[in-house]
């Protein structure tokens, strides 16, 4: 079962093609992380799937229907996307922001129905932000802020959530907190999660599948143990690293690394 299928997806900015042809199938109910060096096109692909940027050509299929034939709001009921480090007006309360997740379901003036309110409350509870519901966004810490944004995506009640580097600017504990939350969502709600992650080891630890990119193309796509290899490190990141099993999770992790010495990395 696939949540997202892309066929010959071509994406770029102003005629500058970043991703020439991207074919991938994202499994339903799994966590998939897209990794790669800076500028490899990983965020570009995610934004194109989340229709934040328009793709030049190609097909994106979401839950078995072609995205180009779907209404914007209907897509928003099936797939939520959380851009990298979004900023909200500081005076907004958490509850207001999370309620914006109900946008695709509302009409007209947009009074929240009982159901909407329940869902907003649930999203706040799940993300552990219930106590902060009426606090202003500006008064929150970085980790709390990220959880509110995730709550907003949850309130969208979609089977798929895309996240662009959800752990940016967070310290280690808060990074884990966010990823644990995503893991729980995946386990409890069967949510398909696709995210761009910078940290290879966290990606390996929390993902069912990893997709490594290089120069806009897929280098290798599979389970962490297939992807986290020394060859991949060299090809995608230009580093000479040691892969060992993590003592806690048993997942492969990159322990220590150097720049690749020879010229092959160019």
């Amino acid at each position: 079962m696939n949540s997202i299928v892309t066929k010959q997806l071509k994406v770029g900015y102003d005629g500058n093609i970043v991703v020439p042809s991207f074919d991938a199938e994202i499994r339903q109910g799994k966590i998939t992380s897209i990794i790669g060096a800076n500028g490899c096109g990983k965020s570009t692909v995610l934004k194109a799937i989340g229709r934040i940027i328009r793709s030049e050509s190609g097909v994106i299929i979401i839950n078995d229907s072609d995205m180009s034939s779907m209404k914007n709001k209907d897509i928003a009921k099936q797939m939520a996307i959380l851009p990298q480090t979004p900023t909200a007006p500081g005076t907004l309360t958490c509850r207001e922001l999370v309620a914006y997740g109900r946008f695709p379901y509302q009409r007209g003036f947009g009074r929240l129905t009982k159901e909407d309110k329940d869902i907003v409350g649930w999203a706040l509870e799940v993300t552990n932000m219930g106590d902060f519901a009426d606090r202003e966004i500006a008064s929150l810490s970085g980790g709390q802020r990220q959880r509110v944004w995730i709550a907003m995506a949850l309130a969208q009640q979609t089977g798929i959530i895309l996240l662009d580097e959800p752990t940016t600017y967070l310290d280690l504990a808060h990074q884990l907190e966010v990823l644990e939350l995503l893991k729980q969502l995946n386990e409890n709600q069967n949510t398909t999660i696709v995210m761009v992650l910078h940290d290879l080891n966290l990606a390996s630890r929390y993902s069912h599948y990893m997709l490594a990119m290089k120069d806009g193309r897929i280098e290798v796509y599979g389970e962490p143990k297939e992807v986290m290899t020394e060859t991949m490190l060299e090809h995608c990141f230009g580093i000479d690293g040691d892969i060992v099993a993590d003592r806690r999770s048993g997942k492969p992790m990159c322990l220590s690394f150097d720049l690749v010495k020879n010229d092959k990395s160019d």
């Binding site: 102003d14 934040i52 979004p86 007006p89 914006y100 997740g101 519901a133 009426d134």
Partner: protein, 339 residues
């Protein structure tokens, strides 16, 4: 969760209450405003005259002189206040407004051209706002063209800088026009540029009211969309908003709201900036309560400025816009200092 909901008013509900209170205040100021002037009338007299009673003289003064002025003052405020909210939300920047973005100046230039080259003291009720709208849209388009770069994200502050510069260019052109026209038109234009409530014929007021109602409703029904865009363009796209189209639609609405105010009420430079600011403090960020609150506050400000001009001897014969500017510049500078 429910306990918290009950303890605290939701921002939206609070906003509705604040709006109701503001509306009440507006009506109060309105009634007091009817008393101000040479001929003294008590609030009771005003109310009875409004509903058909009172003396003949009272009726003439109220219906021919004071009421149109006050209605105009309120509507100028409503238009500018709402337009300011839309512009600030669209650009995520609370220094945006019809004045700072140069939209009013663009509208103003077209009105100036019309008055200077074609008509005497601007008398076509329908043509004036349409010309102003055209000028405003053209100006907004130019500012967008010069203030953005391809391959780069929209930078609101750059748009504002461009707007400020374009305003001074429009100013130069209209100053030149004013140098070559006769004195009576010159005085009219100078008063209009300083923000004089000139369109006090009932004919203008009806056109203005219809215009405001039309574009006000068109804007207001997109309140939710505006909320989401205000959170971020990418977020809005993710929630299913067609950002490009809505941006265009709302920009046109905002320019239309401001244009009519500029056409009939002249140039109230900081009104579209101050109104939303005060309103934001009272009702928060939700555009659905922010737009009316900002409009009402701006309306109250114009009415108060007009009352000062009408009531105080040493301010007599001075355009109300000057009073608004003098009062709002310090507030604006204060905002600049702490933003």
């Amino acid at each position: 969760m429910n306990s918290i909901v009950k303890k605290r008013l939701s921002p939206l509900r609070k906003g509705v209450y604040v709006n109701a209170a503001l509306l009440f205040l507006l009506i109060a100021v309105f009634l007091v405003g009817c008393n101000v002037g040479q001929y003294r009338m008590s609030v009771g007299e005003v109310i009875s005259t409004l509903f058909g009673g009172g003396t003949d003289l009272g009726r003439v003064i109220l219906f021919e002189e004071r009421l149109p002025r006050i209605c105009l003052a309120v509507m100028v405020g409503l238009g500018m206040g709402m337009s300011g909210v839309v512009m600030q939300d669209l650009l995520h920047n609370d220094l945006a407004s019809p004045g700072t973005l140069g939209v009013s100046a663009g509208s103003g230039l077209f009105v100036t051209l019309y008055v200077a080259l074609i008509q005497g003291n601007g008398s076509s009720a329908v043509l004036m706002p349409i010309l102003a709208l055209f000028g405003g849209l053209l100006s907004a388009g130019l500012i967008f063209l010069f203030g953005t770069r391809r391959k780069q994200r929209l930078q609101p502050t750059r748009l504002i800088m461009t707007g400020v510069a374009m305003s001074s260019a429009y100013g130069a052109v209209s100053t030149f026009l004013m140098l070559i026209i006769d004195e009576s038109r010159l005085e009219f234009l100078q008063r209009w540029q300083s923000g004089e409530l000139w369109g006090t014929e009932w004919e203008y007021i009806v056109v203005f009211a219809v215009w405001l109602l039309l574009f006000g409703v068109m804007t207001y029904r997109q309140g939710r969309v505006l909320n989401v865009i205000n959170v971020g363009y990418d977020v809005a796209r993710g929630l299913g908003v067609n950002v490009g189209r809505q941006f265009l639609y709302l920009s046109v609405c905002a320019v239309a709201l401001a244009s009519a105010s500029v056409a009939f009420g002249g140039n109230f430079f900081f009104l579209g900036l101050i109104g939303p600011h005060i309103a934001r403090r009272l009702v928060g960020t939700d555009a659905r309560v922010l737009m009316p609150a900002s409009g009402i506050i701006a309306g109250i400000i114009v009415m108060l400025a007009d009352m000062l001009v009408q009531g105080l001897e040493f301010l007599a014969n001075i355009p109300a816009g000057i009073v608004v500017s003098v009062l709002s510049v310090p507030y604006f500078l204060y905002l600049l200092m702490r933003s």
